[in-house]
Structures are given as structure tokens and as C-alpha cells.
Amino acid sequence: MSSLEFTLLVGMGSLFAGFLGSLTGLGGGVVIVPLLALLFHIDIRYAIGAALVSVIATSSGAAAAYVREGYSNIRVGMFLEIATTCGALAGAALALHLRVSVISIIFGVVLIYSAITSLRQKTDPSRDLGPDKIATWLRMDSTYPTKNGLTKYHVRNVPAGFAIMFIAGILSGLLGIGSGAVKVLAMDQAMKLPFKVSTTTSNFMIGVTAAASAGIYLTRGYIDPGIAMPVMLGVLAGSLIGARVLAGAAVRTLRIVFSLVIGFLALEMIYKGFSGKI
């Protein structure tokens, strides 16, 4: 395989991953690492470095649109970024010391969790539990656009959200993924943010979290230009196309298929990890 063939194949694969990731809301990063590691037999550390970079590209591109629409809560995002960036530094440091097979197994487990949560029905639970002391002090309560105009909401449980975000940061730094599923868990379940607010704020935070660990990956020499180039461009282009496709009934079916594919890749990563073949 020549350099050109390699670039085109990885680029096409990344385009497809970015397209499906943005259409299903799972993100392109989650399939990039198994794709590179299992299909192209690229060392998992290079795969994670390339995935991190592509995660920054898609999250920044998408956040540019969301921020203007007024959904994301910038105060909540900024405060929780203390937790995710600290976690990301810890995760990147862990990645330098853990064995590749161990990283592969953890990756598989997180993939399965992401796939399962993406299949769950997303509804805004019965809420507004009223103001919370810490959230009020941090001026986190805000409004978001709904069919009935701007609707107010209250933020709850900041310490629990902060703790879960630290874990999300570790996973992001260790595995090169946005860990959107864990971020949404913190904001949606613990902090009781409306669904649309938690997903867009999560997206807004992913870029900053990934940048924190990408700096370490770069200075450690884990980001290879020949691999990162087609991955970053492919995932970015794919996610831009995905964002333009109207979300219709087919998306539900697509999400199930994509989750099954991810589940299969996850099992493969776990198996390879245990058998030491990665």
C-alpha cells in the first residue's frame, strides 16, 4: 500500500465514521480508534492521537453553530471544564504508563456503555426542582429557546456533576474520545439540565477537554502527521455532511445499526486486549 492509497483509504473510513457519528449523535471519535487499530493495524497510541485531533475539529465546528442558537450554557460549561481538563491531564498521563492491552479493554467497555446510552429514549424527565444553593451562587440558572419562547431552568447537584465530569475527562484523555455519553450523564441525570442544553453544552466542552490532552499527546510524539491528516479531514467533512442531512425516521434505525457495529467493535477490542494481540 502506497502513501496515497493509505491516505485515501483512511480518509474514506474517517469520512464515513464522521458522517455516521454526527447523524446518530455518537460522535466520530468512538469508531475512529477501533477502525485504525483493528482494520489498519495502527498502534493504538497513534490511533488515539489522531482521534483526539478529529474530536477537536468536529466539536469546534458544531459548537460554532450551537453557541449562536443560544442552547449551550456557557457558565455551566466553563465551570465543569475545570473538572474535565484536570481529568484529561490525568488521563493522558495514564495513557503514557498503561499497557496497550489494558487501554484496549477499557476502550471496549466505554464503547459498549456509549452504544447502550445512545439507544435509550431521550425525554426531558419531570423537572424543575427549584433553585439550588451552589448553582445560584455560580449564576448557572439560565433560559433556553423552546416552542413557547425562552424557558427558564434551574441547575442542581453541581458537586455530583463536577465529579462525573472529572471521570469523563480521564476517559477522554486516555482513549481519545469526546466521552459525550458520560458528559451528558453528568448534566442530564445529575444536574437536571434540559436535554437540548446538556447535549449542546457537552459538545461545547468536548473541544476544550480534548485540547488539554492533545497538547500532551503532541509533545509526547503520539500525533503522527501522516495518520492524523486523513483522519482529521475525513471526520470533519463527514460530520459536516451528517449535520446537513435532515434527521428523519431513518435515523432511529441507523442509530440501532451503528450501535450494533460499535458493540461488535467493542467486543473485538476487549478480546484483542485480553489475548494480547493488539
Binding site: 491516505t7 473541544g207 476544550v208 503532541l218
Partner: protein, 128 residues
């Protein structure tokens, strides 16, 4: 300052933030595409030997090294510079937020944002 006033400033800050993000991603993509074309035309990619891990060369993992390579119009150097711009994009957004919160005299969030900025700077410029 009344509530409506704060809201319109917030919206303006959001718009500038959106422009920063978009410009950063576009500039990064442009540099990466240019670097990719230069690399492939000159056949000087090391892609094939790099599939097994040995870490990048020193000049492709430090900021001065990358700048030097990119200015020499080396393909891999241009790609790394593009990736560096990409990593710097969220950092620029955080930096801009510091000014936004300063403008709103929201001291709690000036502090919060400075902490995030310090962590990011450590990642990019620290010795690991």
C-alpha cells in the same frame, strides 16, 4: 445593569466566540490539506514505517520545531502546524471568555476561566 442588557452582551459574545471557532477550524483544515498535498507530491511521508509505534521525531512534537519545519514548507511540518492551530482553537475560545467575563465584571467566572486557561497552558507549554 438590567437583565435585558446583560442578555444582549451575552449574545454578542456568543457570536464572536462562534467566529473564533469557525476561523480556527478552517485555518487548521487549510494548513493540513496543504501539508498533505505537499507530503504526497514529494513522497516524503513516513506513513508506512510509522504504523508501529516509536514516537514522532523531536522536530514534529515541539512548538518551535513544528514552526521551523512548516516555514521550510515541509509537508509533515505544515500538517503539525495545522493540528497545533486546531488544538489552539478551543484555547483561544477560553482566552476570549476571560475578556467576556471581565467585561461583564463577573469576577467568579474570570477566576474559573483563568483556572481552565492555566490547565490548558500547562498541557501545551509544560514539560511532561
Amino acid at each position: 445593569m438590567d437583565q435585558g442588557m446583560v442578555h444582549s452582551i451575552d449574545q454578542r459574545l456568543d457570536q464572536i466566540m462562534s467566529i473564533i471557532l469557525r476561523t480556527g477550524v478552517l485555518l487548521a483544515a487549510f494548513l493540513v490539506v496543504t501539508g498533505g498535498i505537499v507530503s504526497l507530491l514529494r513522497h516524503n511521508t513516513t506513513v508506512m514505517n510509522d504504523r508501529n509505534f516509536h514516537g514522532e521525531a523531536q522536530q514534529l512534537r515541539t512548538i518551535p520545531g513544528i514552526l521551523h519545519q512548516a516555514l521550510a514548507f515541509q509537508g509533515p511540518g505544515l500538517i503539525q502546524l495545522g493540528l497545533l492551530v486546531l488544538i489552539a482553537t478551543p484555547v483561544a475560545r477560553v482566552l476570549f471568555s476571560v475578556f467576556g467575563f471581565l467585561y461583564e465584571k463577573d469576577w467568579t467566572y474570570v477566576a474559573v476561566t483563568l483556572i481552565v486557561l492555566a490547565i490548558l497552558s500547562y498541557s501545551l507549554f509544560g514539560t511532561h
